[in-house]
Symmetry: C2
Subunit: 260 residues, 2 copies
């Protein structure tokens, strides 16, 4: 695997400098190293950390794939403790917000919108075999992967899910996966620990327009049907931008692909 060949000497150095948290077995079974993603600088002078920040803050948009020179940086970022730490801060804030919110007066049915890929489920077992976003998505191979229904959960998101279920906030999964993946997606969610949900809304392949528009339209429909969207969490800006956004939005990290 190219990533391992290129990155291994760097990883040994990084291991001596960085702390890596103890993490869930499913995602971390993939982990080839300790590491905090190194310095994020590569030999051609491109700063992968600056590229990453610009992506996560939505300054860079519509990029087709991860810069080739950043493959080992993002491999290390995703499989070391760094991605988990970044996700943890977001989810801890979401949980704090949800606990506070419960004291507000009820208005309709309280729901929380969860995106699926790279939010509720992780495709890292697939993406780690395909350059962590350096290779543009191969839709045939990716469909085969989804149909297996074996993606692990993002452990932080599962923690938020369990808190919300206990609080009585209903969960709505809203995804750009098309409806032909309904059965495998439902099976995968249950297998990953998401035992119950209020709705699982996948995309009708006949709908046109961007994902941002599609998700915004669905949220609008839900709100007109007496639902109150307490929170909305996703890894893409298209999951959380577009009116109505929900009472509060949470953006998980994802440096591997962009969906408009």
């Amino acid at each position: 695997m190219k990533f391992l060949r290129v990155a291994f000497p760097l990883l040994l150095l990084a291991a001596s400098l960085c702390f890596s948290a103890v993490a869930e077995k499913l995602i971390h079974a993939l982990r080839p190293q300790f590491g905090c993603a190194g310095t994020g600088l590569n030999l051609t002078g491109v700063s992968c950390t600056s590229w990453q920040l610009a992506v996560e803050t939505h300054n860079l948009r519509d990029w087709p794939s991860v810069p080739t020179a950043c493959e080992s940086y993002f491999g290390n970022y995703m499989l070391g403790g760094h991605y988990r730490n970044d996700s943890r801060v977001v989810v801890d804030e979401a949980i704090k917000y949800a606990l506070d919110f419960k004291s507000s007066s009820p208005r309709g049915i309280d729901i929380w919108i969860f995106d699926i890929d790279e939010t509720s489920l992780s495709n890292l077992p697939y993406l780690s075999q395909h350059g962590f976003g350096v290779e543009p998505i191969n839709h045939v191979l990716f469909a085969e992967w989804i149909l297996k229904g074996s993606a692990p959960p993002l452990p932080e998101t599962l923690k938020l899910y369990n808190v919300l279920i206990k609080l009585g906030i209903k969960v709505v999964f809203l995804s750009d996966r098309t409806e032909k993946f309904s059965a495998s997606t439902a099976q995968n969610l249950k297998r990953a620990g998401y035992h119950t949900w209020h709705k699982l809304i996948l995309r009708n392949p006949k709908t046109n327009g961007t994902e941002l528009q599609h998700k915004s339209d669905v949220r609008d429909m839900l709100q007109r049907n007496e639902y109150r969207i307490v929170g909305n969490i996703g890894d893409q800006w298209s999951d959380i931008l577009g009116s109505p956004e929900g009472e509060r939005t949470f953006k998980l990290p994802d440096p591997m692909y962009y969906i408009s």
Copy 2:
């Protein structure tokens, strides 16, 4: 200075690992070290890099000050090459967008909104003396600093400004500085290299509400007066959220304070 005492041994280590770009003399006259902001992990187990990403992506809101344990991390981040590199990627994208935009058909007077503090002008000479955001802002001392009118420009923003002026896109400075700072702000902008502008809009101290609401109201007023807001750049989410946002927004990094 506490930052130097704590950080110096770490900085020597970081200097051997990281690249620091050659940078403008005004900001970098302050620079006490080479560095890429180290690993971003401190001794208490808090990850300053994860905190920073959550701030920059607007997952953490209304935080009163930078975590004390992150003072040396952010000192190094701001004064080393890392902050400049992060800003450069944002501004390069803004320039690319502006050059593309010029081919679109005219509609009203084209303007670009610039925030002032930590966007057009840098208060680093002040903030570096006050813990890089660890100390909450002292409004008396900060007012004295502003009245001096000696803040340097953010070099990347000045580069964008010069491109826009050449393209014939007019510049509007819009700030939460109150009108009592009009003269010193205008003098400071000119001294920093911003030689001309279409409007300089400061805040009437009698207006209530958040900065987000204030800036949104001003943009709405401008749009109703036949202006087309081509772009909008700021370091705070309150600079760029709130309808109308402008045709496109750009978020510069700022881990040192939060304005709602």
